[in-house]
């Protein structure tokens, strides 16, 4: 069974530019999550989809971040315009919709904003 995949693995952009990250969850997992780790800090929750619906976006830093999951399959996370403090590793995870909702992570996208 294929795991969670993310694209790209790395992205280097200039401040003010736009970047879109993609996540393909494990097939059949209704729950999809985005997390981020900035340097020196712990991994932190950004948001949670159940199928195509945003269930919880309390961790999104500001309105420069937009996540979508059209059709309830893959998800995209767009940062527009990017700022220096957006640099970090963005992880996607998915889980089945049954307790204990074990979350399986993708390899992450390392975003560097210069």
């Amino acid at each position: 069974e294929a795991g969670v995949t993310q694209f790209p693995s790395h992205s280097v952009i200039e401040k003010g530019q736009t970047v879109t990250l993609r996540c393909d969850p494990i097939s059949g997992h209704d729950n999809l999550y985005w997390y981020r780790r900035v340097m020196g800090k712990e991994i932190k929750f950004l948001l949670h989809f159940v199928k195509e619906s945003k269930q919880d976006e309390s961790g999104m830093p500001n309105n420069r971040f937009l996540a979508e999951r059209t059709g309830g399959t893959y998800s995209t996370l767009k940062v527009q315009p990017a700022e220096l403090e957006d640099s970090g590793v963005y992880f996607c995870a998915s889980s089945p919709h049954i307790p204990p909702y074990e979350q399986y992570f993708g390899p992450g996208t390392r975003l560097t904003v210069t």
């Binding site: 997390y35 800090k41 712990e42 991994i43 961790g59 992880f91 995870a93 204990p100 074990e102 979350q103």
Partner: protein, 111 residues
């Protein structure tokens, strides 16, 4: 805000030694997961503990969930160089899908 305090932050030991990593909080959790992460990769799920007092074993790794479901430990017996990596604890609060992560324990096992 729920916090998970993980200790130690760094650990360097000789092959064959035993070690314990701790994960503590003042909050009660519905479940707690332990992950291992290699450089450039995502966290890989090792185990999930759900019941207070639960003990799970994975080869030389023993995981325990505290009776009050506020803390957990990971014990490695006879560490091997292949155990080297970043160990993360992460927990779910009641009714929540947000994983709260500890800062991790970076383990180095020297041959």
């Amino acid at each position: 805000t729920q916090l998970l305090e993980q200790s130690p932050q760094f650990l360097s030991i000789q092959e064959g030694e035993n070690l314990t990593v701790y994960c503590n909080s003042s909050s009660v959790f519905s479940s707690l997961q332990w992950y291992r992460q290699e450089p450039g990769e995502g966290p890989v799920l090792l185990v999930t503990v759900v019941t207070g007092g639960e003990v799970k074993k994975l080869k030389r790794l023993t995981f325990q969930f505290g009776d009050a479901r506020k803390d957990s430990s990971l014990h490695i017996t006879a560490a091997q160089p292949g155990d080297t990596g970043l160990y993360l604890c992460a927990a779910l609060g009641a009714g929540s899908y947000q994983l709260t992560f500890g800062k991790g324990t970076k383990l180095s096992v020297i041959p």
